[in-house]
Symmetry: C2
Subunit: 196 residues, 2 copies
DNA sequence: TAGAAAAGTTGAACTAGTTCAACCATTTTT
DNA sequence: AAAAATGGTTGAACTAGTTCAACTTTTCTA
């Protein structure tokens, strides 16, 4: 069977590639499957790839000193996921990246990405743009974490990423938002009581 | 008088530019002075520039609903500063960027940066690399904020940015680290009592 | 160099969010 | 369909960090 979908339309949002350029770009990616609970990246190993989600859901998390999971990134269709500090600098990872659903991914290796970037100006531009967007996204998250209460962070998450809420268990969303699953449970039930 | 220092050696860390390329690159920047307490970016106005610090110290902060300052970014020599969401997407800013010391900066406008990026592959590569580094840096900050206690965040800050500690007032560092100035004061004095 | 402004300290009361433990519900596996 | 595993809820005690207010110290400005 063919691809569930592809990265073509995604890339075209940012740069204009002709058919040949598009083919070369796509060829640098390998389609892989990841079963629910399968790990794609683990601490202490270098993250050799970054992943573009065609289908499915994944999370990146660290385990802190007290043994608690802290979700750093969530990804569903059309999102990228990896341990960026590990991938970009080819250093040992601190994160797990795990499939939360059976997933289909496009995988690119660090070396192939370097090759793409240096082979064609447009590919370089593409990766520049997604890096800029990632930086801006992360800065917004820092701001939210510093300025909003737990309940406000949850409301904002619902508003901005409604498609994600039902794809991840509550404890994953809670840890992404920097609170305990118990506290998020209380926030949700309090809302039901007043609004529903 | 000439430049206090320049951006040349900084750029050369990441890309190899010949003299002409270096000259063109530098020419896109304008050297400006900012006096202590002067604002370079203000909420609701589009951030037209990003700034590279030649000399001095600056902070970027938002004011939250309760009227409290939350420091999002600090910058001293060789750091960049701006409201990236505003600058990258040319949207109204949510931050103030203010000089904490009398400073000398290199300023580049959004349009001139676009021009550089599209005029020479190497400039594109340079901006791609700094965006990747910014994204990785921000992701580390998210991780730290989610996994460490107030005291651990302060210790880590001391360890990683010793040069910054003495350049910013304590309340700025406290708000950068996501705690109150009173609490940081207590952390510091407790350390003195036990260690010094 | 005096006076004002900005920055830092301390105590005491407080609160947002955590922890722990027990229980319930839902999904998965056999 | 039973058993096991995973995920969610609830109450009660707790705590890391906040708030407020008064005070001290340091820095800036005229």
């Amino acid at each position: 069977m063919g691809r569930t979908t592809s990265i073509d339309s995604y890339v075209q949002q940012f740069v204009n590639l002709d058919n040949e350029e598009l083919a070369t770009f796509s060829a640098a990616f390998k389609e892989i499957r990841a079963q629910k609970r399968q790990f794609l990246i683990q601490p202490n190993f270098v993250a050799r790839h970054r992943f573009f989600v065609l289908k499915g859901a994944l999370r990146a998390y660290v385990v802190d000193e007290e043994g608690q999971d802290r979700t750093i990134q969530l990804a569903i269709e059309q999102w990228w996921i990896s341990d960026y500090n590990s991938y970009m600098f080819q250093q040992p990872a601190s994160m797990f990246v795990m499939a939360v659903e059976d997933s289909t991914l496009l995988q690119i290796s660090f070396e192939d990405e370097q090759r793409l970037k240096s082979s064609n100006y447009k590919y370089e531009t593409f990766f520049r743009i997604i890096a800029e967007r990632a930086a801006a996204f992360m800065q917004r998250r820092v701001i939210t974490n510093l300025t909003k209460s737990a309940e406000q962070r949850y409301d904002l998450f619902l508003e901005k990423y409604p498609a994600m809420v039902n794809r991840f268990p509550q404890y994953v969303i809670a840890s992404y938002l920097g609170m305990t699953t118990e506290f998020l449970s209380r926030i949700r039930n309090q809302k039901l009581r007043f609004k529903g």
